[in-house]
């Protein structure tokens, strides 16, 4: 790897890389994201490696790249052939020789691996034709399937570190801050604080050294946007941090990666090492006189560490307890020094704004929420994965046009946004645009971008209980309302789902929720009641059914349900065989029945029944 000591060196290197890449007639990119790894993409990559070496001249002509996540995880392993832009999904190692002999050598498509649009009954070649991608606006994620995140050369070949060069040599630090301010970029971690304003405050704060931090402690359950960015394009985050540090006057940066993201940690580590090796981190970067380095800090599996003051405590090697923010971290943060903390997606937006200008950025989105936003569209929806759209797109468009609507014939009834700080939005409000402000009025928030779709098979009381227990477990325990209040709320919800709720349960729950929100110190506690309050606001009838009718309408809360077998039963015996408590009786080819007193309500019978004869009441 060469050393770049000046802007000229950097540009010369980029030219050489592009020249070298010209030799390749084709690129085979195999997704190496965590989602595709679960589907053994590693073996697909190895099969390509083996087959490409076998055939003469192919190895020189075809470049094989293991890239980051293109977002359509449930269809993995994903393989894209460029420049033809052929998108293959669910590729298995045994498909590889056919892809090589047909597509790579003869230019023909392997039809069976193409995506089929079930509506139009048509095979689609390019990713952009697929409904899941068609309505998206992929800016941040656009490079994820083009580059190998472990090769800095790949990032340079798509124009990487050009924005840094522009910032260092053509812009004054104050002009950079002005550009970010004008762009309207707001923090993607969930709070939506104006990024440029934060940078300006940190720059003006007295004290040296100053620090910048990248928050990759994406703890919201159901969200994985930051993981995909850090795994798939870590240099874009690093470039954003470099530009921010230069503008603010910081000389040291930290990337705090959560422990549960081993690949993101590894790729961030590789990116930092490579950048340091070539001279894009360290002393006198590109001979500009600017010094900056980055260290990677690993989290310990605590949700509360996504909160800035708790995260800082964790980097300092202490217990991750938040502190009062009377004095903000931009004035007194890491080791008491001015510190600017932004999340992964915010940092990744910075090089794009510097490259394309604030005008371009602010032309996307709504009046108060500019740019694109990545969402993790998951749960009970047909197409799941990462979705990048302009701010302000309606929930309906995201869930139905991109997500393809319901999954298993069950009607979609809500979407949970904003993680444990957000709430459930009912289908009747799906006309709402998704931006920093609209969802707050509906009792939820956009948050960092988790979007968990729920259908008739989801019990909203169970979801409220899930979040309260989640938060109770993750509460750091520092202040009483959160530590004890959530425990009591959990107790009330346990009672309701077990059929022990009474006429006073809901009023008590509501009161307690409001007290916890009003009196907690940090964001975790302050927003903790949101999932419960929003469920009570929109799905009160479900709570009442549990309390007064001792019934769970969605068929989820085990103490309130019973399994039975309908006349649709073909008598195959699969359910009797799998039942762990021998609670199913019946003769072969005759309708079976469940002995309620023996049934443990594990649901295995329902899982194996091909005739869909097992019913929940």
């Amino acid at each position: 790897m060469r050393k770049v000591k000046s802007l000229k060196d950097l540009e010369k290197w980029r030219e050489d890389i592009l020249l070298k890449e010209k030799r390749h007639e084709m690129i085979v990119s195999v997704c190496g994201g965590t989602g595709c790894q679960a589907y053994d993409c590693q073996q697909v990559k190895e099969a390509f490696q083996k087959e490409l070496t076998k055939t003469k001249n192919l190895k020189e002509k075809v470049a094989l790249k293991v890239t980051g996540c293109p977002g359509f995880c449930e269809r993995g392993p994903l393989v894209t052939i460029l420049p033809q832009d052929i998108f293959y999904q669910k590729v298995k190692p045994e498909d590889v020789s056919e892809i090589i002999s047909k597509t790579i050598q003869k230019g023909k498509k392997v039809e069976r691996l193409l995506f089929e649009d079930s509506g139009a009954k048509q095979k689609l070649t390019s990713a952009n034709e697929i409904p899941f991608y068609r309505s998206q606006m992929r800016v941040l994620l656009s490079r994820n399937d083009l580059i190998d995140p472990t090769h800095i050369e790949d990032y340079l070949s798509v124009g990487g570190y050009q924005s840094l060069a522009k910032a260092l040599f053509k812009m004054e630090p104050t002009a950079i801050i002005e550009e970010i301010k004008t762009s309207g970029l707001r923090g993607r971690g969930g709070a939506g604080y104006p990024t440029g304003k934060k940078w300006e405050d940190c720059k003006k704060a007295p004290g040296t050294p100053k620090y910048v931090i990248c928050n990759c402690d994406e703890g919201d359950p159901g969200a994985f946007m930051d993981r995909a960015l850090m795994e798939g394009n870590p240099h874009s985050v690093l470039e954003g941090m470099l530009i921010g540090a230069y503008a603010i006057g910081a000389s040291q940066g930290y990337i705090y990666v959560r422990h549960e993201y081993p690949l993101a940690h590894k790729n961030a580590e590789i990116a930092v090492q490579q950048a340091r090796k070539v001279g894009l981190l360290g002393k006198n970067i590109l001979d500009s006189g600017f010094d900056f380095d980055v260290e990677i800090s690993k989290g310990g599996g605590a949700f509360v560490c996504g909160e800035s003051t708790a995260l800082i405590a964790s980097i300092e090697g202490r217990v991750g307890e938040p502190r009062s923010k009377q004095v903000h971290t931009v004035k007194q943060g890491l080791w008491g020094k001015p510190t600017n903390l932004n999340n992964v997606e915010t940092w990744a937006n910075v090089p794009l704004i510097i490259e394309k200008g604030s005008e371009w950025f602010s032309s996307i989105g709504t009046e108060k929420s500019k740019g694109t936003k990545i969402f993790s569209l998951v749960g009970k929806v047909k197409n799941t994965g990462l979705v990048e759209v302009p701010m302000g797109m309606t929930l309906k468009k995201i869930i139905f046009d991109i997500g393809g609507g319901q999954q298993n014939g069950k009607k979609i009834k809500a979407v949970q946004t904003g993680g444990p700080s957000g709430g459930c939005i009912p289908a009747s409000l799906f006309h709402l645009p998704v931006d920093f402000d609209s969802l707050t009025e509906a009792g939820s928030m956009m948050g960092s971008g988790g979007m968990i779709v729920m259908d008739e098979g989801t019990c909203m009381v169970d979801v409220a209980k899930y979040f309260v227990h989640f938060l109770q477990e993750e509460s750091c325990g520092k202040c009483l309302p959160c530590r004890e209040g959530l425990k009591r709320m959990g107790g009330i919800l346990d009672d309701i789902t077990e059929g022990k709720g009474d006429g006073e349960s809901l009023a008590l729950l509501q009161d307690l929720a409001e007290v916890v929100g009003d009196t907690s110190l940090c964001g975790l506690g302050k927003t903790a009641p949101n999932p419960v309050l929003s469920a009570l606001r929109y799905f009160r009838s479900e709570f009442e059914a549990h309390i007064h009718k001792k019934r769970c309408p969605a068929g989820v809360c085990t103490p309130l349900i019973q399994y039975s077998i309908s006349d649709e039963c073909t008598g195959c015996g699969a359910c009797a065989k799998i039942c762990p408590t021998q609670a199913i009786e019946g003769k072969k080819k005759q309708v079976h029945h469940i002995l309620t007193e023996l049934c443990s309500k594990c649901g295995s019978c329902k899982d194996v029944c091909k005739a869909e004869a097992v019913m929940i009441q």
Binding site: T34, G35, Q37, A38, Y39, D40, C73, E74, E218, G219, P221, G222, A223, F224, R227, H259, E260, Y261, P262, S297, K298, G299, G300, G301, A302, F303, S314, I315, E316, G317, R318, V319, G320, S376, L377, V378, G379, K380, T384, G385, L386, Q416, G419, G450, I452, M454, V463, Y466, F467, F470, E473, E474, C476, I578, P580, C602, G603, S604, D607, V608
Partner: protein
Amino acid sequence: MDLKTVDLIVDRHQEKRTALISILHDVQDRYKYLPIEALKVVASRLRMDINEVYGVATFYKSFTLVPQGKHSITLCLGTACHVRGGPKILRELKSLLRIEPGQTTPDKQFSLNVVNCLGVCAIGPVMMVDQKFYGEMTSIKAKKIIEKINNKPSGVKS
């Protein structure tokens, strides 16, 4: 117990107190858990009170003070996995292994843990067995995976 490795780990982090969490991660990578003897060495080398080190080790969920089994089963119970049937899989795992989350089977073969989100939400419910991810889990699949490991003492092959 050989504690030389602990010294080497502390050396590598230049005896920095601020590196405590990283040190504990490295110690756990080596021993698969945090032995109390190792915590004492860390505390003395960093000139910290053992209580402080213990406080950090017990605050963060990724650390464990009990020895782990040969195979680690981690079930994700994030929101997406929860609504897609994660709790049902947990019930199956608990009844198969006869242990609660956080515990290890008496034959030291399996440790069962639950985690609040592994970030592989699009293919939930997700389970991780010995660092390998499995997506779209059902209780039947979970049972098969455990049975496969039991029949193959060398570990899981996908």
